[in-house]
Symmetry: none
């Protein structure tokens, strides 16, 4: 479905957890006219999500698993769908709580691990008939960023991204259809997997990359300033996601340890072989037997691996064209650029500044709609800006 289709999600939606994912889902649904109530243990996160237009605040008690009070929906209607968007280690409790609390609602979650979660839910269900797992379907929208919290949320976070629906065998038709509709309204493309296939996949394309970024970034903690000043886009990209939340990621990684472990062991074996090759070169010189072969074998395998990563999904930034302009590093210059872009009548969708120490000129990378890009480049050049050829 595209954003032009009528809203697929029926009835009010209650979001538990107004972090990055919860607030982004709320923004996407609110934008489609769905009535959304919000709950979070943090009043300030909750207030920010509301101020961003994510929905109305449900009575505060709605977000605590110990609560068993009446329906808290601000609109007074029981939610048709509850989305639990809290850290993985507390997701099972919140899902069970929502199933108890809203006897008619479908409940889903957005946790990055599915097998451990399902096992925990079966335990909780065994002890409590109100925890009806037929009304639960696990899901995992494959969208996120190194920044967390409502402040980083966006209604188009999920556009063109895969949204994994991990239905277990007891899930009802209604539950599955409700979560499919949610993914459609968020603009995501639905992928059906069972919990194990999902967990193996995310270990490879999300969890282990996170650890590699952290392992690299950890080496920079005590690095000399002068060395770090040489950092380019390569090390920035490799380490970008190392800025992720320790609490969230320990929960994800311990929760998916069974799938992550064998991959890490393979990488350690490859690293051992690499260290042997490098040490040979260090001891016997660049042409030491086996050194070049050992290293180029790994680099070549990396070429093959990265070539298999599919092209960009239609994520938000990807839908825009970038216009790069050289801007003198003086107060007001960036403001002048933005004012003139406004005068030209183009809306700035996103913006990035490429800058460097001691450099008198910065590169302003302005993201605009594809149609606006070329006219903007011409108009800016006419106004004397230096536009860098794409």
């Amino acid at each position: 479905m595209t954003a032009d289709d009528p809203t697929a999600t029926r009835g009010p939606v209650h979001i538990v957890g107004t972090g990055l994912l919860g607030t982004s889902i709320a923004l996407a649904l609110t934008a489609r006219g769905v009535s959304v109530t919000l709950a979070d243990t943090s009043p300030s996160m909750l207030a920010l999500a509301r101020d961003l237009g994510a929905g109305t605040i449900a009575r505060a008690d709605a977000n605590t698993a110990s609560d068993t009070g009446p329906t808290p929906s601000a609109a007074g209607d029981a939610p048709a769908l509850v989305v639990v968007a809290v850290p993985p280690d507390v997701t099972a409790d919140e899902v069970a709580h929502a199933l108890r609390r809203f006897p008619d609602a479908v409940v889903t979650d957005v946790a990055s691990v599915k097998s451990v979660l399902l096992a925990e839910l079966h335990e909780l269900a065994a002890g409590d008939p109100r925890v009806e797992l037929s009304r639960y379907v696990g899901s995992h929208p494959m969208a996120g960023r190194e920044k967390s919290g409502a402040a980083a949320a966006s209604a188009d976070l999920f556009i063109g991204r895969p949204w994994v629906l991990a239905a277990h065998e007891d899930a009802s038709e209604r539950a599955i259809l409700t979560v499919r509709a949610l993914a459609a309204d968020a603009g995501a493309s639905l992928v059906s997997m069972d919990a194990d296939e999902h967990d193996d996949a995310v270990a490879l394309i999300s969890h282990v990359p996170q650890l590699m970024a952290s392992l690299m970034a950890a080496q920079l903690v005590d690095a000399p300033e002068r060395a770090l000043a040489l950092a380019g886009q390569g090390v920035r990209d490799v380490t970008r996601i190392a800025a992720s939340e320790p609490r969230l990621w320990s929960a994800i990684l311990t929760g998916n340890a069974a799938a992550v472990s064998p991959l890490l062991r393979t990488i350690r074996d490859d690293l051992d072989a690499l260290v042997r090759a490098i040490d040979r070169a260090a001891a016997e010189g660049p042409l030491a037997p086996g050194a070049v072969a050992g290293i180029s074998r790994l680099i070549a395998a990396g070429n093959d691996g990265v070539a298999r990563v599919p092209g960009k999904h239609g994520g938000a930034r990807r839908r825009y064209a970038e216009v790069t302009v050289l801007v003198p590093d003086e107060p007001g210059e960036l403001g002048r650029l933005f004012s003139e872009v406004g005068e030209i009548g183009v809306n700035i969708e996103d913006f990035q500044m490429e800058h460097s120490p001691k450099q008198k000129v910065g590169m302003a990378i302005v993201s605009v709609t594809q149609e606006a890009a070329q006219p903007l480049e011409q108009a800016l050049e006419q106004r004397g800006w230096r536009v860098v050829a794409p």
Copy 2:
């Protein structure tokens, strides 16, 4: 220097090697009106560089180290500067050849490793008085991309990037000034380091990140299509530079093995500790003693490390304070914000837009100096802007 300054490089420049760096340097100099001659062992690369406007083709023999013929400059003038831009493992021979061939020229190279190269050059100089190292200064422009070859070249490649000048003790004043002028004309910011400091720095911020990207990407070679279909921006960024050339990178890594080896060993130790923590969680469950602590310790160290990577503005990210402002999604609003920040007299160090087409409001994250942050927040609120509490 900015693009408005007069050309600093004096006299014709001869470029040996029309790959990404050689062609980009040639394009930058040609754009400044410097007369540039080109040489490369590959006639097709050479023709492409010429067709891109990088310069005129020197007689083909100019690029072979065995050649000892007369000056090949198309313009008929001996070059004042020769830039050797060939893979590291053949750089020493080409530098020595250029010193012999052009007895009055300053010679530099752009190789990513400096110590091994200097040792090779001292050997070559010992056997041949024409190899006058006083006319040689090593340099390393810290710019590149995962794409190689003249086709990926750009006159803007070095703008705002560090350009390391690695002068050895015998380098003449003239040689140093000539290479400084080259860096200035390329729009780069000069950094002086000796060969060892340079090699340690690039091992950390370039060579080891390359290996981490390759180690990760190599795991994707046999991955299921359905798993790869879930790939997001995280794994793309971590593996992007894994697309680099095996031949070039084996030469770089064997050439800098002494500096790379200790870093790789530290990473392997960290990885071993991580594997133990993950295995504990896999065997005893997510709450296994030591598991969460072991993992979150690494993620937290990664947070600290990545925070030290200079941001888009060079300085460490955390040197700046972020002021977040809600901005109506209408043309000109962002311009109005920037103009008013200018009126308030605050310089914008960096800027990021958290934005979503279907949202009626975007979040403008303005980075300013720590001192400027609070006054700016107050002034903006007085002007009616909605500032999000940090």
